[in-house]
Structure formats: structure tokens, C-alpha cells
Amino acid sequence: MAQTEFFRPGNLAAALDLLDQYREQAVIVNGGTDIVERIAHGGVRRAAIIYIHEIPELRGIGEGDGFVRIGGAVTYNDILASPLCCQFTALEQAVKEIGSPSIRVRGTPAGNLGTAVPAGDCCAAMMALDAEVVAASRQGERAIKLADLIIDYRRTALAANELIREIRIPVVPGGKTASAFLRLTSRKGQDIAQASAAVRLTLDGDVCRHAVIAMGSVSKVTVRAYSLEKAVAGKTVADAAEEIKAMVPAEVALRAADNPAFAARPTANIERQYKESVIGVIVARAMMTAYGKILAGEQ
């Protein structure tokens, strides 16, 4: 095949011009911790590599209009160092376990969302936090809710000429609301989630008024656990947690034939059984952690 061209645009406009020119023939490299491996091993071959990681407009974290705004090239380590981001416990907990120190210095939440794999820890955290992304192209910008962004395994609603300029997380007043993220891995370092859960919990006294629950690695995409959200509403947190521990939420879709993460694996059945038997526990524990956060804040 023809040679691959490598571009390192110096600003956002230049990047969007290139994207507009190459469209499907381009691959965006941000932190590169996932895509570079796929490019190197031949899984992804495009005419142009557009490297956006050093674009200044994409590197900031700010606040405005009721959102914390995280630039598209902000790294995991930037998140961990940010006083603005530390209010989102689920995000912090998701980010601090991703990959390894060398991954976290390069990898980006925007890249994690754009990759759209079911094990993406930021995907689950951002979904529970009700985040949205701002997609930019030469034609302009649009906001996409996270639930609408991820449409299939490794597929997003982004057009070929769009990139994630920023991620926005709505700021929710503290006191009665807190979030948490928990994942189960085969080992403690450099691994992806076997099952993960992010929960944003809002209390009414001791009772769970509202919970947003997102789950990772239990379907071909990150999913909201609406069934659990409904099940826990109006119950005390302790009761709710005990109840969901043993549940396999309806949104767990490991047996779906079109799940490419499982399709070809001879061990898929064993993996499914294990995931199904622990996902309730993971969600319950994440919920209890969020609950603990609220209680700690009240003291």
C-alpha cells in the first residue's frame, strides 16, 4: 500500500483542515496508548496519521457554564493533578488505575472515549457523571451526550472530520451527591477491567433518591444500568446495595451474538459466567463508596 503520511498540526484549525481533507483516510493519534499499538501491528492502516496531542487549545482544564471542561488532549495525569477534577471521585478513581504510570502520562480521557471499547474506564465514569463531549469540525461544533456518543463496539457518533475538542462534566452541588468508580481486573497493574461500575448517588436522608449507574466490560459498549437505578430508588443505600449484589442487571449483554469482544473466544462462556456473577457486587461496592463519600462530607 501507499506510504502513510504523518502530520503534527500546530493548532486546532490546522488539525480540522487535515481531518476534513483526509476524513476516513485519516487516523487521529492523541495519547496513542491504544491506537499506536493497533497501527504498529497492522490493525489500523490509513493514508494519514494526524497527531493532535500537542495542540495547545486541547490541553487545558477549565470551568464555565456549570461545567468542568477538559480539553481533548488533557492526559490522565493532568486530571489527577487538577483541583477542578478532584470533585468527580468516579473520574479520579477511574483514571488513577488506568494502565501504568507511563500510560497515564500519555493517555487521555478523550482518547478513551473515542476508542469506545467496553473496558474504557473513563467511558463508565463519564457516563455516570452525565458528561458530554464537544465535537469540532471545520463546519463547527456540536455537543454530544456520552450515551449518544458511543454507538457500538469501537464506534462513536463522531463524523470522520470531527474530533473531541473537550469533555464537559456538569458540576453538581456537593453535600447530598457523590460518585465512585470500581473495577475488577485480573491483576492489579497494567490490566483492563473484567467488569467495572461507576455510580453517582444522590441521597435523600438515608434513602437513595437518585442513582446514575454505568457499567463497563459487560456489554459491547459501556451501558447505563437503568434496571438497577430503578431498583435502588427510594431504598436505603445499605438495603439497595445488599439487593443488587446478587443481581445480574438486564443491561448486561454478554450473551449477545454480536458482541465482538467475545465472538471468537473459546473461553467466552466461562468469562461471561464470571462477569455475571461479580457485576452486582462491583456496582454495590461502588455505590457504598459513593455513600461513604457523602457521609464523610457531612461530618
Binding site: 490490566d191 473484567q194 449484589k245 473459546p266 464470571y274 456473577s277 461479580v278
Partner: protein
Amino acid sequence: MEKLDIVGQSKQRVDALVKVTGQAKYSADLRRPDMLIAKALFAKYPHAIIKSIDVSKAEKLDGVAAVMTAKDLPGRNGYGILVPDKPVIAERKTKYEGDPVAIVAAVNLDTAEKAIALIEVVYEPLHAYDDPREAMKDDAVKIHEQHPAAEKGNILCVLKLDRGDVDKAFAEADIVIENDYETPMVDHAYLEPDIAIAELDSTTGGLILTSAGQAVYATKRCLAPVFGLPQSKVRVVAPVIGGGFGGKEDSTLDVCAVAGVLALKTRRPVYFELTRAEVFRTTGKRHASYIKHRLAANRDGKIVAIDVQTILDKGAYVSMGGTKAPLHGVTMRTLVYAGGTYAIPNARARAYSVFTNHPYSCAFRGFGAPQVQFAVECQIDELAHRIGMDPVAVRTLNMLKDGDMTITGQIMKESRGLGLGECIQKVTQRIKWDQPIDHGKGPVRRGKGFGAFIYGTGIPLAFEGSSAFANLELDGTLNVAVSSTEMGQGIATTVAQLAAQTFGVKYESVDVVFSDTGRSPDSGPTVGSRSAVMVGNAVAEACRQLRSRLLEVAGKQFFQADPSTLTIKDGLVYVEGRPENAEKVATIAARAFVSQVPLSVIGTWFPPQPTFNSADGQGEPYHAYGFGAHAVEIEVDTETGVINVLRSVLACDVGKAINPAIVEGQMEGGAAQAVGYGLMEEPIMAAGVMQNTGFHNYMIPTTKDLPDLESVIVEHSNELGPYGAKGIGEPPLIAGAPAIRNAIYDAIGVKINIIPLTPRRVLEAIRQQAGQAR
């Protein structure tokens, strides 16, 4: 007694600086632009008849220098350390997915890969065997239609050990404990993939092979017939190696064979490197084992008999599995260690080595001992629980002591070092074994577990022994040459310390040449926890010869004194007690040089002849044994099955730590590998095809999975070892996995006899037990 000021010190490793600064040259660093790049087309089906191969399109591709199939080979199409049963290129049949079907050399990697893709092969797939218990059945398809060593069908060999009256002992015993155990195939997961560079030797007309291998002489001997060359025309060099763990005793043959025949064919240098996925799919693994272990004991805790059947997954080729003759291999070790480190008067053990369509099972740290001793250490724990005795007390009661006999009939001698008692005492003290542990109340429970081990130093074969070369330079420095390889374990440093101490120069005055058949005599392979002792003794012997020659000259020509009154220390020669009147070693060496005194010597050392009878398992396979005790504290998450190792305390009796930092390195490495072996490492095989062929899905522990690994060195001197040393390379791995398993039982009362103890397996066992209790 001689005061030791070099041996016993944690001297900075001779290779430390070049390695931490990235300057050390590994095999891949020696690649040059003039080299052709080799690639292999590996079998598409792990078990298949090859109907036809068409290489014509590949041959026509621009930049391809050679395409070879089995019919193009220059010599014997078969090699192996013990039995030459592995083809360089599969001819009629594929037996595992690592069999090359065709090989290519091209001007660059891209062209080589394209050429490989152009080769057309028609196969007739056969049923692929994953389980030796299935493959050993009478009606199984024979994987090797004709095998030079196989006994029957797919059964390569059955080895036996018989001692005492086992049936009577079982009939009379108070307690019989019978369990089935399974241990997995494991990849060595060395950091450096397999690489070979083959070049024509313009002087001899032979070949020079440069490869990350653990046994340069064995490589030469195994592969000379493949190349159709006399052994004298094959030179094998191993640069520094990025980890071997036993695997590179064999895998180096695979890559050297391919690179070598392509170099002979093209008359050009050839570079061949396996990708990581190819390393996983094609190179050797630890023998998976299926063990039926019966143990008989009296109510007082004394073990009276064992009856053990071990079925080993041999994979496709003999490799280091061993046969009845030649014997040396993993299979016989499963007999030797079937009773662990305990004195057991009656023993029966049977070991079946069975071909499957898996990667060939080869040497891997512990060589059969981690398999059977996993079973033994679980059995003895269960014995303790059954009779209400402390698990450590049962071990102490039964452990081999001075004068006791092993199940192979060998008498244990304190003079060769029997430090298990001290290891047990040190470990239990440190982990506070006698204090009850708080098991916890919530879903996460805690427990403590214990394991002990025995492991022989060296290779239990008639040829065991070493040669080393020492050359005194005229400036007083010393060159030592050994054929051992430096794969991170530190042998070059150990050898330098032994040489400096024995001869009497500063540590910094010794330089060590290693692993080059053109530059060093045969020190034997770097395997079997043998090098510090076997090679160390040969080096010490060479240095003693040099020392006495030098003292002879010094006595006669300088001091007019009896040489026995002289000493050499720090490069100075003087009358004992009078260092103020010293002469430099260099001065005396220069005089010796002009006095026809030879300053180049070969030192050799052979242990007492190892013996072992494959018909009854009796003999004295090793001159000395290392011992150890390993205790862990763990956490079990009963809702997810996740095990967290909180503490690991390992004590090893090493005879003498030549370099304590290096010994601790071996111990920490072994303890870490034990966590992987016990908790997570497992190739997933489906009809002979490995499913997890990358480090993202083949799990090995990271530092985050390990607690602070505590190591305690115990030294019960081996009268035949250099300065008392015994082997320490492999032993630290052995007892970790059973200790973890026993700790899970302590924490939650659930008995799991299959490793690795993955969260899935643990959770399943917990739920099964809860289900039965209901």
C-alpha cells in the same frame, strides 16, 4: 580458617553499569544492515497432514533470497537436547502450531512477511489433543507416527519409583489422604524474545551462531547434524540474555536451526527474531501436570507412605521431558520429589509423559519440582488439619534430617547442608506463625499459609561436571572463561568473586568471558541451579592451580621460603603475617612467564557420579540438596474471588551465599514468579491453539501484585560446594503456590487443588462449597 573478604560480599555486579545505562549488547543489538531477515510459516493447524506446499509465488517475489521446505535441508531434519525428534521444518505432518512448514530469507522484514503470505499449503486437519489423559488412551491418534523413543502410542515413557511395602503401609495407616491436583502449562515470559544470527565462518567454512541461549555447547552438538557440519565447525555464542528460566535451553535451537540452514543456503548472514506472539505459540512451556497423590500417615502425624501418579503434558516433542534413556529430564524429577522434603519409608510413584499437540514442554525453573511439590505441600497441610496438628509442626516432624533416607534411597548428610529446620524456624518467627490471625468478618478474609521444598543442585546425569579456563595476565589481572550464560542471574559476578577470592587478587582485577564455544571450555548448560557450584568449583580449581604455580615461583625466586608459608591477597604475595614485604602478583607473574611456568590453566570439577535407576527410581541423583520454607499472608475477597498477597517470607538454605545480593535477587524473582504461577499464569489452549499470545491477555504479575518480598538467607555448608555453596537459581519458585493455596484454606476453609487460583476459579470453589453446605 581462611577469612573471606570477597566471597560472601554483595559486590556490584560486573554487568550492572552497562545494563542500567542501556549499553549492554543483547542479540538484537548485533543485527547489521547486511543481514537477511528470516521468517517462518508456522503450522496453520496444530495437528494435520501436509498435503502439499507451493512456494513458487514466494520464490518469485523481488528481494527473496531463499524459500526452504523440508526437502531443501542440508542435513538431518531433526534435533533436540535429548532426542532429535523435532523437525527443523515439518515434512509430512504438523504436531503443534509451532512447527515451521516453510522458511524464508529476504532483504527485509516486509518482503519476508509478504513471501510467507504467498506460500500455499494444503492441510488435512486431524483431531488436536489438549489433554494428555485423552491422548494416552489406546484409541488415540498417534501424534508421532514413528518416534525414536516413545514407549506406546502417545505415551513417551513411564518411569517408576518403588521403595518399601506401600500397600501394607496404606492398609495399616490411621489416615489416608487422596486428592487430584492440576498445575498449568506456563510460558517463561522472558523479556527478550528468541533471536538467532547465523553467519558463515570464513576461517573454518562452518557456522557462527549468535543467539540468546542457555547452553552453547549443547546447541552446537544438537545442531551440527542439522547443518551437515562437524561439531568443530559450529561456534555458538550467547551475548547477555534478557531472561531464560530454562526456556532458552531449547528455544535457541529452534531459531538457530532456521537461521543456520538459511545462512548455509544463501551464503549470507541471516537474522531471525520471533515476535512475542510467536514466542508464545512456538517455544517450550512448563509441563502441565495431572497428579493423583495418596498419602498415608499415623495419627501422630508421621507419614508412612505415598502413592503418586503424575501425568505430564509433554507437548509435541521430548525436549527436556526425558525418557528412560536418556533419562535426564522433568519426568524423573517428578519421581524424585514425589514425597517432597520428607522422610517417607514407603513410596510408589509413577510418572507418565504423554505427547499432545501443545508446544513442547521443556525445562522451566524447578524442572518438575513445582508440579509434584505443589501436591505434596497441599497434602501435608490437609494431614495437619485432619489430625488437628499445626501444619508447620507436621512438616518439622517429617522433614529429612541427618541420616534419613529419601524415597530414592539416598542418605541425607548434614555435611552437605540440611538447613530446612533453620529455614522453617526463621520464616515462622518472622511471620509470627504462632500468633492467631484475625480472619476478618466482611467479604474479605485473611489467612496464612506455608510451604516447604527440597531441590537438588545440578543435573542428575552421568556427564555432570564443568570445565573452566583461567589465564593469569602479566599485569596481575586474571581472565576467566566459562561457557555459562549470563541471563540476568549474575553468574559472571559470582565467578569473578570466586576467582578473586581463590586466587588472591582484587575482585576488580578479574574479567569473565562467558558463553562462547570458541573462547571457553565446556562448563555445561546454564540450567539446573548448577552453575555456582559446578562451574564455581571448576573456576576455583583453575585458580588454585594458578595460585600454587605462582607461589612456587614466589617461594623459590623471591622469598626463599616454602610456598605453603606464602599467601596471595589483593594482588600482593607475601609471607603469611608479613604483608609489609610483599611482591606484586604482576612481578611474580612476569618472572613465571620467563621461567616456563604455564599461566593458562583449565580447571575441572565433577560431583560424585549421579545415579538413578529408571526401573525403580532408586539412586543418588544429586550430591547436595537445597531447602527452603515459604510463608504467605493473603486476603481472599469472597465475593469476587480475588486473592491479594499481603506478605511473602521466603527462607532458602543456599549453603553459602557467594554474593548475598544476587542470592536475594534469585529469591525475590522466584517468589514473584510463584505468585504468577499460583494466581494467574495460564496459556488458554483450544484444540492446540494458544488463545492468549500477548502480555495483555497472558497475565504475569506486576509490582503492584506483589507485596514486599522478604528473603532470609540460611547457610548450611555443602562440603563439596565452592565455599560451601549449593544451587539457588530455581528453588525459590517451588513453595510459593502451595503456600498461597494453603493460606486460602486457612482464610475461608475452601480447598482448591488446581492452580492458577484465578478469581474465577476461587469464586467458583467458594460458591460450590456454599451450595453443598446449604
